[in-house]
Amino acid sequence: MAAVGSSVARKDGIGKATGGALYADDIVFPGMLFGRTIRSTIPRGRVKSIRLDFDTTGFTIVDYRDVPGKNAVALIAEDQPFLVEDEVRHMAEPIMLLAHADRERLNAANVVIDYEEETPLFDPELSDEVFKTIDIEKGDVTAALAGDDLVLVEGTYRTGHQEHIYIEPNGVIAVPEGAGVVIHGSMQCPFYVIKALRCLFGEHPPLRVIQTETGGGFGGKEEYPSMIAGHAALLAIKSGKPVKIIYDRVEDMVATTKRHPAIVKHRTAVTRDGRLVAMDIDVLLDGGAYITLSPTVLSRGCIHAAGPYRCDNIHIHGRAVFTNTPPNGAFRGFGAPQTEFAVEVHMERIAEALGLDPVEVRRKNALRPGDTTATGQTLRDDCSALMVLDEAVRRTDFLKKRDACKGTNRAMGLSLFYHGAGFTGGGERTLKSRARLELTPTGVRIATGSTEIGQGTRTMHAQIVTDALGIPYEDVTVAQPDTALVADSGPTVASRTCMVVGKILEECAHEMRGKLGALSPAEYYAQHGPLTVERMYEPPDWITWDDQTYRGDAYATFGWGCDVIELELDTDTYEVRPVKLTTVQEFGRPIHPALARGQIEGGTAQGLGYALLERVVMRNGAMANSTLTNYTIPTTLDMPVLDVVMMENPYPGGPFGAKGLGELPMDGPAPAVVNALRHLGLDVREIPATPELIALSGAA
């Protein structure tokens, strides 16, 4: 029986269910110290003086002067310091590090910092420090907007911060080893951490990063672990002892990255029968105090901003700007949930303006194979927008049931969405990801830097290798990511771990099969000894992309989805109760149906939280509701019945036809919810649609 396509036993083993799996905070090293980060308490200004108001006996104390290399967290730019030297750009910015063997003494240590405060900038619309600008142009929007007999629809849509709430907060342990240091930690991207540490320490000391079992990521452990690892490493090298830094929930929420808030403006010209003629879209992202990943978040947000629709004239103008707030960063969807929320609510308003059925307007404009996207990419046969739309409408009996809700406090809403898989444009070509298969005495071992963060990396990769090599699933093992031992398969982000890294592994397995001939791995090993196959990713040769003009094939393929939500509004409290959510998603082919369903159900829950519950309240540049008591994510009692439909339309460039899936489910719930509220006569154009916001919204 083939492993791919069936829900085989997972490679995680039973440890996660017995408490045996070891996460960063579960690991103890002899002589270990605890580390603590002293952070800024103002959003903008300069450090005037620092005074240690405690008995420093037994403490290791680190500030920027202890940085041996460059004081910058190397990512896209090198602008964010590991430790403030002088200028403070946001609340909770790291200034000093303390370590001590006694946690109570550590936490009681009082550091007094005097500042020269400056006026902070919190409003992205007033910011003139632009991290990145993107313009995507197709056709001639200005001329098309001025065409005859067209209807113009305009709107502004806003989305707030969102906090990841992985249930395991960030944490690492740095252990001195020889002249260097080994990092054990909760993370998505061990090789990003290596890159950041090389910048921090220079090329000389030996550095090694090992991922521990990781209690959720969602993008929140893409770039921030580089910061914490650097801090722990500085303390470990100075003290000569292992140092553990585990953030508590409040520190994690206040200090680490969040989803970028966005303001998206649409101006659309449409024919009276509902055909899109021109789309003029302005995207503004609040990047926070440093560049981090904002340019690429903006890029993905802009590329998805016109939605899964055909239109000959499109202009998308995007900016990511500075504010004096903690830097925003990667979060499942990476800019697309913001812009797809905007375009999907806007499509609903276009239908309202024309007096047409919103399903019909979507059907008329949905991208089909052969159509071109905003970047000029011609879609291939794996474009499924119409297929998922039609199936969702049919399965939910949407038109009839929606109309039957009229006059009640119940409503139905729909959203159509898509998500590009893998790095954008030429990104996968530049990345040069590698994966490795190693023969063992009993089978083969997968050795990549791709991390298991709950989504099923170990299992799904093992399934691909099993079938491509034609051996029993039990004979495949998966190495824990350790930068000293595995190939750099690129970061575990961007819905690329299955489609891209899985593809390299499939090719490694084919090459290995050729070398094994008719022998099993164990037989070959016994006769000839070890054998290793390592290969680099080759993106499809037809991909062309110009990073200057943003023209070309933005993604090798897209996943497609349609959400239909049925909800109830409490007309006294304006609380929304989702009753049922049906989601139809096409992502090539599921490698492991139960894991794939888990991505869809979990992403949908996160999307519903984004839509309704998860409001980050910023006060003087810091998250004011930084606890799980008042930043609420969906519980069992908040979740509707989920009906998940997985449709197949294989992508020839993916392993066994698979596309990326991780982010796609995040894009749909928010616009579906808000469109349902529109059917209740409420003109909501912002999320989270909290009761307070709904109460203040006008009539649709």
Partner: protein, 155 residues
């Protein structure tokens, strides 16, 4: 102080106001009990005290003097519910799983879906959207699920 921990009598010398969670994790090495928030909101540190699920981050160890405490380790490594959490993908990243299992283990013989939801309402999971957790628990109890949610790992 003396209490029964996973069936064995144990004596602790910790400060009486130490969090039960810290005593379990640091003095007894029972790291299956996880800290997700430290304020009783996420349920990752759920253990049973005299058979009732509690957040061990909120309980001073003095409060369990003479009580029976059971952690995830007390279930052993081969409980059917543990296997179902893995096989039905009720566990993804796994950090909420021990607490979730300790909350679910207290359910009566034939729980309805509403009863399951209520029993697990104090346990946050960010990965699954909870459906797969219901599938694991319902299968353990031999209870049917609403048709649209009933997909099992065998599908």
């Amino acid at each position: 102080m003396r209490f029964t921990l996973n069936g064995a009598s144990t004596e602790v010398a910790s400060h009486p106001m130490s969090r039960l969670m810290d005593v379990l994790r640091e003095e007894h090495g029972l790291t299956g009990t996880k800290e997700g928030c430290g304020e009783g909101e996420c349920g990752a540190c759920t253990v049973l005290v005299n058979g009732k699920p509690v957040c061990s981050c909120l309980v001073p160890v003095a409060q369990v003097d003479g009580a029976e405490v059971m952690t995830i380790e007390g279930l052993g490594n081969d409980h059917p519910l543990q296997h179902l959490f893995m096989n039905e993908v009720g566990a993804q990243c796994g950090i909420c799983t021990p607490g979730m299992i300790m909350a679910a283990i207290t359910l009566g013989p034939q729980p309805t879906l509403d009863e399951i939801k209520t029993a697990l309402a104090g346990n946050l999971c960010r990965c699954t959207g909870y459906s797969a957790i219901y599938r694991a628990v319902c299968k353990w109890k031999g209870m049917p699920l609403p048709e649209v949610m009933a997909h099992t790992a065998a599908d």
